[in-house]
Amino acid sequence: MEEKFSFPSKLRISAIVLVIIGLAAFIWGFISNPDQAWGNLLLNNFFFVSIAVGASFFMSLQYIAQAGWSAGFKRVSEAVVSYLPVGGILFLVLIFGLGHIYHWAHEGAAVHDELLSHKSVFLNIPFFSVRILLYFTLWIFMAIYLRKLSLKEDLEGGLTWFEKSEFYSKVNIFVIAVTFTFASIDWLMSIHPHWYSTIFSFKAFASAFYHGSSFVILIILLLNRAGYFSFLNKSHLHDFSRYIFMLSIIYGYLWFMQFTIIWYGNIPEETIYYALRWTTPWKTLFFVDIILNFAVPFLVLMPRTPSRNKTVVLIVALFVLAGYWVELYTQIFPAINPENNFGLIEIGAFAGFLGLFILAVATTLSKASLIPKNHPYLDECLHHHF
Protein backbone atom coordinates (compact mmCIF):
# COMPACT_ATOMS: atom_id res chain seq x y z
CA MET A 1 0.00 0.00 0.00
CA GLU A 2 1.57 3.23 -1.18
CA GLU A 3 0.45 6.47 0.34
CA LYS A 4 2.40 9.66 0.69
CA PHE A 5 1.50 12.74 2.64
CA SER A 6 2.00 15.97 0.76
CA PHE A 7 2.31 19.08 2.88
CA PRO A 8 -0.50 21.36 1.60
CA SER A 9 0.78 24.85 0.97
CA LYS A 10 -2.28 26.31 2.70
CA LEU A 11 -1.38 24.51 5.89
CA ARG A 12 2.25 25.57 5.56
CA ILE A 13 1.28 29.21 5.16
CA SER A 14 -1.14 29.14 8.09
CA ALA A 15 1.50 27.45 10.25
CA ILE A 16 4.00 30.17 9.35
CA VAL A 17 1.39 32.81 10.14
CA LEU A 18 0.84 31.14 13.52
CA VAL A 19 4.58 31.23 14.20
CA ILE A 20 4.68 34.94 13.35
CA ILE A 21 1.72 35.58 15.68
CA GLY A 22 3.59 33.69 18.38
CA LEU A 23 6.76 35.68 17.84
CA ALA A 24 4.82 38.94 18.02
CA ALA A 25 3.08 37.82 21.21
CA PHE A 26 6.39 36.91 22.81
CA ILE A 27 8.07 40.15 21.82
CA TRP A 28 5.13 42.12 23.17
CA GLY A 29 5.11 39.91 26.28
CA PHE A 30 8.81 40.34 27.01
CA ILE A 31 8.33 44.10 26.87
CA SER A 32 5.07 44.44 28.79
CA ASN A 33 5.16 41.55 31.27
CA PRO A 34 8.35 39.47 31.17
CA ASP A 35 7.30 37.11 34.00
CA GLN A 36 4.18 36.09 32.15
CA ALA A 37 6.01 35.72 28.85
CA TRP A 38 8.67 33.43 30.37
CA GLY A 39 5.92 31.43 32.05
CA ASN A 40 4.21 30.97 28.73
CA LEU A 41 7.46 29.90 27.15
CA LEU A 42 7.81 27.21 29.80
CA LEU A 43 4.16 26.16 29.54
CA ASN A 44 4.12 25.71 25.78
CA ASN A 45 7.57 24.17 25.74
CA PHE A 46 6.50 21.61 28.28
CA PHE A 47 3.15 21.08 26.53
CA PHE A 48 4.64 20.11 23.19
CA VAL A 49 7.82 18.44 24.43
CA SER A 50 5.86 16.20 26.79
CA ILE A 51 3.46 15.36 23.98
CA ALA A 52 6.42 14.36 21.82
CA VAL A 53 7.86 12.29 24.68
CA GLY A 54 4.43 10.75 25.28
CA ALA A 55 4.19 9.87 21.60
CA SER A 56 7.66 8.31 21.77
CA PHE A 57 6.47 6.20 24.69
CA PHE A 58 3.29 5.30 22.81
CA MET A 59 5.32 4.21 19.79
CA SER A 60 7.71 2.11 21.89
CA LEU A 61 4.78 0.51 23.67
CA GLN A 62 3.30 -0.59 20.35
CA TYR A 63 6.63 -2.18 19.45
CA ILE A 64 7.20 -4.10 22.65
CA ALA A 65 3.61 -5.28 22.80
CA GLN A 66 3.99 -6.31 19.13
CA ALA A 67 0.69 -4.57 18.57
CA GLY A 68 -0.70 -5.32 15.15
CA TRP A 69 -3.67 -3.00 15.10
CA SER A 70 -1.60 0.20 15.21
CA ALA A 71 1.18 -0.82 12.82
CA GLY A 72 -0.16 1.31 9.97
CA PHE A 73 -0.22 4.48 12.07
CA LYS A 74 3.37 4.25 13.29
CA ARG A 75 4.59 7.08 11.06
CA VAL A 76 2.32 9.55 12.81
CA SER A 77 3.89 8.93 16.22
CA GLU A 78 7.32 9.11 14.60
CA ALA A 79 6.39 12.49 13.16
CA VAL A 80 5.19 13.80 16.52
CA VAL A 81 8.45 12.65 18.12
CA SER A 82 10.38 14.58 15.47
CA TYR A 83 9.34 17.81 17.20
CA LEU A 84 11.90 17.05 19.95
CA PRO A 85 14.92 18.84 18.37
CA VAL A 86 12.83 22.01 17.93
CA GLY A 87 11.57 21.71 21.50
CA GLY A 88 15.12 21.17 22.72
CA ILE A 89 16.37 24.41 21.16
CA LEU A 90 13.43 26.35 22.59
CA PHE A 91 14.03 24.82 25.99
CA LEU A 92 17.60 26.06 25.92
CA VAL A 93 16.24 29.59 25.42
CA LEU A 94 14.51 29.15 28.76
CA ILE A 95 17.87 29.09 30.56
CA PHE A 96 18.12 32.86 30.07
CA GLY A 97 14.90 33.48 31.94
CA LEU A 98 15.07 31.05 34.82
CA GLY A 99 14.90 33.83 37.37
CA HIS A 100 11.51 34.90 36.08
CA ILE A 101 9.99 31.48 36.68
CA TYR A 102 11.92 29.68 39.39
CA HIS A 103 12.30 31.16 42.83
CA TRP A 104 15.41 29.07 43.48
CA ALA A 105 17.16 30.64 40.48
CA HIS A 106 17.10 34.11 42.03
CA GLU A 107 20.47 35.28 43.09
CA GLY A 108 20.77 34.94 46.83
CA ALA A 109 17.51 33.09 47.23
CA ALA A 110 19.29 30.29 49.03
CA VAL A 111 21.23 32.48 51.46
CA HIS A 112 18.59 32.87 54.15
CA ASP A 113 16.63 29.81 53.18
CA GLU A 114 17.86 26.64 54.76
CA LEU A 115 15.78 24.34 52.57
CA LEU A 116 16.85 26.02 49.35
CA SER A 117 20.51 25.98 50.31
CA HIS A 118 20.12 22.29 51.10
CA LYS A 119 18.55 21.71 47.68
CA SER A 120 20.97 23.98 45.84
CA VAL A 121 23.28 21.03 45.10
CA PHE A 122 20.62 19.87 42.66
CA LEU A 123 18.74 23.06 41.92
CA ASN A 124 21.36 25.41 40.50
CA ILE A 125 21.48 27.02 37.10
CA PRO A 126 24.55 25.24 35.61
CA PHE A 127 23.43 21.76 36.63
CA PHE A 128 19.86 22.55 35.55
CA SER A 129 21.11 23.51 32.08
CA VAL A 130 23.28 20.42 31.84
CA ARG A 131 20.30 18.30 32.71
CA ILE A 132 18.19 19.91 29.98
CA LEU A 133 20.94 19.07 27.50
CA LEU A 134 21.21 15.53 28.81
CA TYR A 135 17.48 14.80 28.59
CA PHE A 136 17.19 16.12 25.08
CA THR A 137 20.33 14.38 23.88
CA LEU A 138 19.01 11.03 25.08
CA TRP A 139 15.49 11.56 23.75
CA ILE A 140 16.61 12.81 20.36
CA PHE A 141 19.21 10.08 20.03
CA MET A 142 16.64 7.38 20.75
CA ALA A 143 14.08 9.00 18.46
CA ILE A 144 16.50 9.31 15.55
CA TYR A 145 17.71 5.74 15.98
CA LEU A 146 14.19 4.27 16.08
CA ARG A 147 13.21 6.33 13.06
CA LYS A 148 16.29 5.11 11.18
CA LEU A 149 15.42 1.50 11.89
CA SER A 150 11.87 2.09 10.75
CA LEU A 151 12.96 3.66 7.47
CA LYS A 152 15.44 0.86 6.82
CA GLU A 153 12.62 -1.60 7.28
CA ASP A 154 10.73 0.21 4.53
CA LEU A 155 13.62 -0.23 2.12
CA GLU A 156 14.87 -3.68 2.92
CA GLY A 157 12.11 -5.58 4.68
CA GLY A 158 12.63 -8.66 6.77
CA LEU A 159 12.26 -9.21 10.48
CA THR A 160 15.70 -7.90 11.51
CA TRP A 161 14.65 -4.27 11.72
CA PHE A 162 11.50 -5.03 13.61
CA GLU A 163 13.38 -7.06 16.19
CA LYS A 164 15.95 -4.32 16.56
CA SER A 165 13.21 -1.71 16.92
CA GLU A 166 11.58 -3.84 19.57
CA PHE A 167 14.79 -4.08 21.57
CA TYR A 168 15.55 -0.37 21.32
CA SER A 169 11.97 0.42 22.26
CA LYS A 170 12.61 -1.30 25.57
CA VAL A 171 15.72 0.85 25.99
CA ASN A 172 13.69 3.91 25.03
CA ILE A 173 11.06 3.18 27.67
CA PHE A 174 13.73 2.92 30.37
CA VAL A 175 15.36 6.12 29.16
CA ILE A 176 12.07 8.00 29.13
CA ALA A 177 10.99 6.63 32.50
CA VAL A 178 14.14 7.86 34.22
CA THR A 179 14.72 11.11 32.37
CA PHE A 180 11.12 12.29 32.24
CA THR A 181 10.73 11.71 35.96
CA PHE A 182 13.59 14.12 36.60
CA ALA A 183 12.50 16.44 33.82
CA SER A 184 9.08 16.97 35.35
CA ILE A 185 10.61 17.54 38.78
CA ASP A 186 13.03 20.06 37.26
CA TRP A 187 10.65 21.95 35.06
CA LEU A 188 7.35 21.85 36.94
CA MET A 189 7.77 20.81 40.53
CA SER A 190 10.70 23.11 41.22
CA ILE A 191 8.45 26.10 40.53
CA HIS A 192 7.40 25.54 44.14
CA PRO A 193 10.82 24.70 45.56
CA HIS A 194 9.51 24.22 49.11
CA TRP A 195 6.73 21.91 48.08
CA TYR A 196 7.08 18.31 47.04
CA SER A 197 4.93 15.38 46.14
CA THR A 198 6.41 11.95 45.57
CA ILE A 199 3.76 11.03 43.02
CA PHE A 200 4.16 14.25 41.06
CA SER A 201 6.50 12.99 38.38
CA PHE A 202 4.53 9.78 37.95
CA LYS A 203 1.42 11.86 37.38
CA ALA A 204 3.29 14.09 34.93
CA PHE A 205 4.55 11.02 33.10
CA ALA A 206 1.09 9.43 32.89
CA SER A 207 -0.27 12.77 31.76
CA ALA A 208 2.37 13.04 29.03
CA PHE A 209 1.57 9.52 27.84
CA TYR A 210 -2.15 10.30 27.96
CA HIS A 211 -1.95 13.52 26.01
CA GLY A 212 0.78 12.28 23.67
CA SER A 213 -1.45 9.39 22.60
CA SER A 214 -4.42 11.73 22.34
CA PHE A 215 -2.45 14.02 20.07
CA VAL A 216 -1.33 11.11 17.89
CA ILE A 217 -4.95 9.95 17.64
CA LEU A 218 -6.08 13.48 16.83
CA ILE A 219 -3.56 13.74 13.98
CA ILE A 220 -4.57 10.33 12.62
CA LEU A 221 -8.23 11.35 12.61
CA LEU A 222 -7.47 14.70 10.98
CA LEU A 223 -5.40 12.98 8.29
CA ASN A 224 -8.25 10.56 7.77
CA ARG A 225 -10.58 13.51 7.27
CA ALA A 226 -8.19 14.86 4.65
CA GLY A 227 -8.43 11.57 2.78
CA TYR A 228 -5.49 9.52 4.09
CA PHE A 229 -5.66 6.20 5.98
CA SER A 230 -8.61 4.91 3.97
CA PHE A 231 -8.33 1.56 5.79
CA LEU A 232 -9.25 3.11 9.14
CA ASN A 233 -12.35 1.29 10.36
CA LYS A 234 -14.60 1.09 13.40
CA SER A 235 -12.31 -1.37 15.15
CA HIS A 236 -9.36 1.01 14.92
CA LEU A 237 -11.56 3.79 16.24
CA HIS A 238 -12.73 1.65 19.10
CA ASP A 239 -9.12 0.90 20.01
CA PHE A 240 -8.26 4.60 19.90
CA SER A 241 -11.14 5.48 22.19
CA ARG A 242 -10.19 2.63 24.52
CA TYR A 243 -6.73 4.18 24.75
CA ILE A 244 -8.14 7.59 25.67
CA PHE A 245 -10.69 6.04 28.00
CA MET A 246 -8.15 3.89 29.84
CA LEU A 247 -5.66 6.73 30.20
CA SER A 248 -8.36 9.12 31.40
CA ILE A 249 -9.05 6.73 34.27
CA ILE A 250 -5.34 6.53 35.07
CA TYR A 251 -5.10 10.30 34.96
CA GLY A 252 -8.13 10.76 37.23
CA TYR A 253 -6.77 8.14 39.59
CA LEU A 254 -3.37 9.79 39.92
CA TRP A 255 -4.87 13.27 40.20
CA PHE A 256 -7.07 12.09 43.01
CA MET A 257 -4.28 10.10 44.65
CA GLN A 258 -2.04 13.13 44.97
CA PHE A 259 -4.93 15.26 46.14
CA THR A 260 -6.36 12.90 48.78
CA ILE A 261 -3.07 12.07 50.38
CA ILE A 262 -2.16 15.72 50.73
CA TRP A 263 -5.68 16.57 51.89
CA TYR A 264 -5.66 13.75 54.43
CA GLY A 265 -2.17 14.39 55.72
CA ASN A 266 -2.97 18.08 56.12
CA ILE A 267 0.65 19.18 56.52
CA PRO A 268 0.96 22.91 55.74
CA GLU A 269 4.16 22.32 53.79
CA GLU A 270 2.21 20.13 51.35
CA THR A 271 -1.25 21.68 51.40
CA ILE A 272 0.10 25.04 50.26
CA TYR A 273 0.07 23.71 46.69
CA TYR A 274 -3.64 23.03 46.79
CA ALA A 275 -4.46 26.00 49.02
CA LEU A 276 -3.13 28.29 46.29
CA ARG A 277 -5.21 26.57 43.64
CA TRP A 278 -8.27 26.39 45.85
CA THR A 279 -8.64 30.19 46.10
CA THR A 280 -10.62 32.48 43.87
CA PRO A 281 -8.81 33.11 40.58
CA TRP A 282 -7.74 29.48 40.25
CA LYS A 283 -10.55 27.45 41.71
CA THR A 284 -12.62 27.18 38.52
CA LEU A 285 -9.65 26.19 36.35
CA PHE A 286 -8.58 23.67 38.97
CA PHE A 287 -11.86 21.81 38.50
CA VAL A 288 -12.00 22.39 34.74
CA ASP A 289 -8.75 20.41 34.59
CA ILE A 290 -10.21 17.25 36.10
CA ILE A 291 -13.51 17.62 34.26
CA LEU A 292 -11.86 17.92 30.84
CA ASN A 293 -9.21 15.31 31.47
CA PHE A 294 -11.27 12.75 33.31
CA ALA A 295 -15.04 13.27 33.34
CA VAL A 296 -15.51 14.13 29.66
CA PRO A 297 -13.61 11.20 28.10
CA PHE A 298 -14.80 8.83 30.81
CA LEU A 299 -18.50 9.54 30.34
CA VAL A 300 -18.51 10.12 26.58
CA LEU A 301 -16.38 7.18 25.52
CA MET A 302 -17.91 4.63 27.89
CA PRO A 303 -20.83 3.50 25.66
CA ARG A 304 -20.01 1.58 22.50
CA THR A 305 -21.69 3.75 19.88
CA PRO A 306 -19.96 7.11 20.50
CA SER A 307 -16.59 5.42 20.93
CA ARG A 308 -16.90 4.14 17.34
CA ASN A 309 -17.75 7.54 15.88
CA LYS A 310 -14.96 9.50 14.21
CA THR A 311 -16.33 12.94 15.03
CA VAL A 312 -16.97 12.10 18.67
CA VAL A 313 -13.46 10.70 19.22
CA LEU A 314 -11.96 13.72 17.46
CA ILE A 315 -13.88 16.16 19.65
CA VAL A 316 -13.02 14.25 22.82
CA ALA A 317 -9.33 14.32 21.85
CA LEU A 318 -9.58 18.10 21.41
CA PHE A 319 -11.22 18.45 24.82
CA VAL A 320 -8.52 16.32 26.40
CA LEU A 321 -5.76 18.45 24.87
CA ALA A 322 -7.47 21.63 26.02
CA GLY A 323 -7.54 19.97 29.43
CA TYR A 324 -3.79 19.45 29.26
CA TRP A 325 -3.23 23.12 28.64
CA VAL A 326 -5.45 23.97 31.61
CA GLU A 327 -3.62 21.42 33.75
CA LEU A 328 -0.24 22.95 32.96
CA TYR A 329 -1.60 26.46 33.36
CA THR A 330 -2.88 25.73 36.86
CA GLN A 331 0.41 24.03 37.66
CA ILE A 332 2.74 26.78 36.49
CA PHE A 333 0.98 30.10 36.75
CA PRO A 334 -0.23 30.37 40.36
CA ALA A 335 3.41 30.88 41.36
CA ILE A 336 4.35 33.23 38.52
CA ASN A 337 1.23 35.24 37.93
CA PRO A 338 -1.10 34.95 40.93
CA GLU A 339 -3.73 37.32 39.49
CA ASN A 340 -4.52 34.91 36.65
CA ASN A 341 -4.70 37.63 34.02
CA PHE A 342 -5.19 35.37 31.08
CA GLY A 343 -4.76 37.35 27.90
CA LEU A 344 -3.42 37.70 24.40
CA ILE A 345 0.06 36.51 25.40
CA GLU A 346 -1.31 33.07 26.30
CA ILE A 347 -3.24 32.73 23.06
CA GLY A 348 -0.43 34.08 20.89
CA ALA A 349 2.23 31.95 22.58
CA PHE A 350 0.21 28.79 22.10
CA ALA A 351 -0.48 29.71 18.47
CA GLY A 352 3.23 30.20 17.83
CA PHE A 353 4.22 26.87 19.30
CA LEU A 354 1.36 25.14 17.50
CA GLY A 355 2.64 26.58 14.23
CA LEU A 356 6.15 25.24 14.88
CA PHE A 357 4.71 21.90 15.89
CA ILE A 358 2.66 21.66 12.69
CA LEU A 359 5.70 22.57 10.59
CA ALA A 360 7.91 19.95 12.28
CA VAL A 361 5.30 17.17 12.22
CA ALA A 362 4.04 17.74 8.69
CA THR A 363 7.57 18.00 7.27
CA THR A 364 8.54 14.66 8.81
CA LEU A 365 5.27 13.08 7.68
CA SER A 366 5.85 14.13 4.08
CA LYS A 367 9.38 12.70 4.03
CA ALA A 368 8.47 9.01 4.13
CA SER A 369 5.66 6.77 3.02
CA LEU A 370 2.70 7.43 5.32
CA ILE A 371 2.08 3.73 5.80
CA PRO A 372 5.16 1.65 6.69
CA LYS A 373 5.80 -0.75 3.87
CA ASN A 374 7.41 -3.83 5.35
CA HIS A 375 6.14 -3.82 8.90
CA PRO A 376 5.50 -7.48 9.81
CA TYR A 377 2.14 -6.67 11.39
CA LEU A 378 0.93 -4.31 8.69
CA ASP A 379 -1.53 -6.79 7.24
CA GLU A 380 -3.12 -7.30 10.62
CA CYS A 381 -3.61 -3.55 10.88
CA LEU A 382 -5.15 -3.23 7.44
CA HIS A 383 -7.73 -5.91 8.23
CA HIS A 384 -8.15 -5.10 11.88
CA HIS A 385 -11.38 -6.48 13.20
CA PHE A 386 -12.67 -7.67 16.51
Partner: protein
Protein backbone atom coordinates in the same frame (compact mmCIF):
# COMPACT_ATOMS: atom_id res chain seq x y z
CA UNK B 1 -37.33 -32.29 31.36
CA UNK B 2 -38.35 -33.44 27.92
CA UNK B 3 -35.70 -32.91 25.31
CA UNK B 4 -36.65 -30.92 22.26
CA UNK B 5 -35.89 -32.44 18.87
CA UNK B 6 -33.13 -30.65 16.96
CA UNK B 7 -31.24 -30.80 13.74
CA UNK B 8 -27.53 -30.36 14.51
CA UNK B 9 -24.90 -29.28 12.01
CA UNK B 10 -21.26 -29.72 13.04
CA UNK B 11 -18.34 -27.69 11.69
CA UNK B 12 -14.67 -28.32 12.27
CA UNK B 13 -13.38 -24.76 12.22
CA UNK B 14 -14.24 -21.16 12.92
CA UNK B 15 -13.91 -19.85 9.40
CA UNK B 16 -16.47 -22.10 7.65
CA UNK B 17 -18.81 -21.50 10.57
CA UNK B 18 -18.70 -17.72 10.15
CA UNK B 19 -19.10 -17.99 6.38
CA UNK B 20 -21.99 -20.40 6.86
CA UNK B 21 -23.70 -18.03 9.27
CA UNK B 22 -23.49 -15.31 6.63
CA UNK B 23 -24.87 -17.68 3.99
CA UNK B 24 -27.79 -18.72 6.19
CA UNK B 25 -28.62 -15.10 6.78
CA UNK B 26 -28.59 -14.37 3.06
CA UNK B 27 -30.94 -17.29 2.44
CA UNK B 28 -33.20 -16.13 5.22
CA UNK B 29 -32.92 -19.29 7.32
CA UNK B 30 -32.95 -18.54 11.02
CA UNK B 31 -30.32 -20.31 13.11
CA UNK B 32 -31.80 -21.24 16.46
CA UNK B 33 -28.55 -21.37 18.38
CA UNK B 34 -24.78 -21.61 17.96
CA UNK B 35 -22.38 -23.47 20.26
CA UNK B 36 -18.66 -22.89 20.04
CA UNK B 37 -15.67 -23.72 22.24
CA UNK B 38 -14.82 -20.02 22.60
CA UNK B 39 -16.76 -16.82 21.92
CA UNK B 40 -16.78 -15.67 18.29
CA UNK B 41 -17.82 -12.04 18.10
CA UNK B 42 -18.63 -12.11 14.42
CA UNK B 43 -21.45 -14.55 15.11
CA UNK B 44 -23.06 -12.04 17.47
CA UNK B 45 -22.92 -9.43 14.73
CA UNK B 46 -24.24 -11.72 12.01
CA UNK B 47 -27.02 -13.09 14.19
CA UNK B 48 -27.80 -9.58 15.41
CA UNK B 49 -27.90 -10.75 19.00
CA UNK B 50 -27.36 -7.97 21.47
CA UNK B 51 -26.72 -8.35 25.14
CA UNK B 52 -28.49 -5.92 27.42
CA UNK B 53 -26.27 -6.91 30.34
CA UNK B 54 -24.01 -3.89 29.79
CA UNK B 55 -27.00 -1.55 30.08
CA UNK B 56 -27.97 -3.30 33.32
CA UNK B 57 -24.37 -2.93 34.56
CA UNK B 58 -24.45 0.78 33.72
CA UNK B 59 -27.62 1.25 35.77
CA UNK B 60 -26.17 -0.78 38.64
CA UNK B 61 -23.13 1.50 38.53
CA UNK B 62 -25.27 4.57 39.09
CA UNK B 63 -27.32 2.87 41.81
CA UNK B 64 -24.22 1.56 43.60
CA UNK B 65 -22.28 4.81 43.37
CA UNK B 66 -25.09 7.12 44.43
CA UNK B 67 -26.34 4.63 47.02
CA UNK B 68 -23.03 4.32 48.85
CA UNK B 69 -22.49 8.08 48.74
CA UNK B 70 -25.94 8.60 50.24
CA UNK B 71 -25.25 5.97 52.88
CA UNK B 72 -21.94 7.52 53.90
CA UNK B 73 -23.57 10.91 53.99
CA UNK B 74 -26.24 9.50 56.25
CA UNK B 75 -23.85 7.57 58.47
CA UNK B 76 -21.07 10.12 58.85
CA UNK B 77 -22.94 13.40 58.65
CA UNK B 78 -26.59 13.02 59.59
CA UNK B 79 -26.78 10.08 61.96
CA UNK B 80 -23.47 10.07 63.86
CA UNK B 81 -21.17 13.04 63.23
CA UNK B 82 -17.73 12.43 64.71
CA UNK B 83 -14.70 14.67 64.77
CA UNK B 84 -11.74 12.89 63.16
CA UNK B 85 -8.64 14.99 63.56
CA UNK B 86 -10.47 18.21 62.83
CA UNK B 87 -11.65 17.13 59.40
CA UNK B 88 -15.01 18.42 58.24
CA UNK B 89 -17.82 16.01 58.96
CA UNK B 90 -18.73 15.86 55.30
CA UNK B 91 -15.29 14.69 54.13
CA UNK B 92 -16.06 14.20 50.48
CA UNK B 93 -12.56 13.15 49.26
CA UNK B 94 -12.42 10.28 51.72
CA UNK B 95 -15.86 9.10 50.59
CA UNK B 96 -14.66 8.80 47.01
CA UNK B 97 -12.34 5.87 47.72
CA UNK B 98 -15.13 3.82 49.26
CA UNK B 99 -17.48 4.87 46.46
CA UNK B 100 -15.04 3.65 43.82
CA UNK B 101 -14.45 0.28 45.44
CA UNK B 102 -18.05 -0.30 46.43
CA UNK B 103 -19.38 0.59 42.98
CA UNK B 104 -17.10 -2.00 41.38
CA UNK B 105 -18.17 -4.64 43.87
CA UNK B 106 -21.85 -3.81 43.51
CA UNK B 107 -21.76 -3.85 39.71
CA UNK B 108 -19.87 -7.15 39.68
CA UNK B 109 -22.18 -8.93 42.08
CA UNK B 110 -25.38 -7.53 40.61
CA UNK B 111 -24.34 -8.29 37.02
CA UNK B 112 -23.46 -11.83 37.99
CA UNK B 113 -26.80 -12.21 39.77
CA UNK B 114 -28.65 -10.83 36.77
CA UNK B 115 -26.80 -13.11 34.42
CA UNK B 116 -27.49 -16.16 36.56
CA UNK B 117 -31.14 -15.16 36.82
CA UNK B 118 -31.54 -14.64 33.10
CA UNK B 119 -29.69 -17.79 32.16
CA UNK B 120 -31.55 -19.72 34.89
CA UNK B 121 -28.48 -21.45 36.20
CA UNK B 122 -28.54 -22.81 39.73
CA UNK B 123 -26.57 -25.45 41.63
CA UNK B 124 -27.70 -28.95 40.79
CA UNK B 125 -29.38 -28.05 37.54
CA UNK B 126 -28.99 -30.66 34.83
CA UNK B 127 -27.87 -28.89 31.73
CA UNK B 128 -28.83 -30.23 28.35
CA UNK B 129 -25.63 -30.00 26.32
CA UNK B 130 -26.49 -30.30 22.66
CA UNK B 131 -23.15 -31.76 21.64
CA UNK B 132 -20.44 -32.38 24.23
CA UNK B 133 -17.77 -31.89 21.59
CA UNK B 134 -18.54 -28.16 21.50
CA UNK B 135 -16.56 -27.92 24.72
CA UNK B 136 -13.58 -29.31 22.84
CA UNK B 137 -13.02 -28.57 19.16
CA UNK B 138 -16.35 -28.59 17.30
CA UNK B 139 -18.60 -25.73 16.25
CA UNK B 140 -22.32 -26.42 16.10
CA UNK B 141 -25.47 -24.91 14.58
CA UNK B 142 -28.80 -25.96 16.03
CA UNK B 143 -32.25 -25.86 14.36
CA UNK B 144 -35.48 -27.05 15.91
CA UNK B 145 -37.06 -29.91 13.94
CA UNK B 146 -40.50 -28.35 14.05
CA UNK B 147 -41.07 -25.43 11.78
CA UNK B 148 -37.80 -25.74 9.86
CA UNK B 149 -37.49 -26.43 6.17
CA UNK B 150 -35.50 -29.59 6.68
CA UNK B 151 -34.39 -30.09 3.12
CA UNK B 152 -33.15 -26.55 2.68
CA UNK B 153 -31.26 -26.55 5.96
CA UNK B 154 -29.50 -29.81 5.22
CA UNK B 155 -28.60 -28.65 1.75
CA UNK B 156 -27.17 -25.38 3.07
CA UNK B 157 -25.25 -27.14 5.82
CA UNK B 158 -23.67 -29.50 3.32
CA UNK B 159 -22.80 -26.77 0.83
CA UNK B 160 -21.14 -24.62 3.48
CA UNK B 161 -18.86 -27.42 4.61
CA UNK B 162 -20.52 -29.00 7.65
CA UNK B 163 -18.68 -32.18 8.49
CA UNK B 164 -21.65 -33.90 10.10
CA UNK B 165 -25.44 -33.52 10.24
CA UNK B 166 -27.57 -35.47 12.66
CA UNK B 167 -30.88 -35.40 14.55
CA UNK B 168 -31.30 -35.51 18.24
Amino acid sequence: MEKQAYIVGVYDDEEPLVNAAKKFKEEGVKIHDVYTPYPIHEIFEIQEVKSRLSIAAYIYGWIGGLGILAFMQYAAVLSWPLNYGGKPVNSFPSFILVTLVFTILFVTIMSLTTFIGRAQIFPGKTIDIIDPRTTDDKFVFVFPQEGTDRKKVEELLKSTGASEIYDR
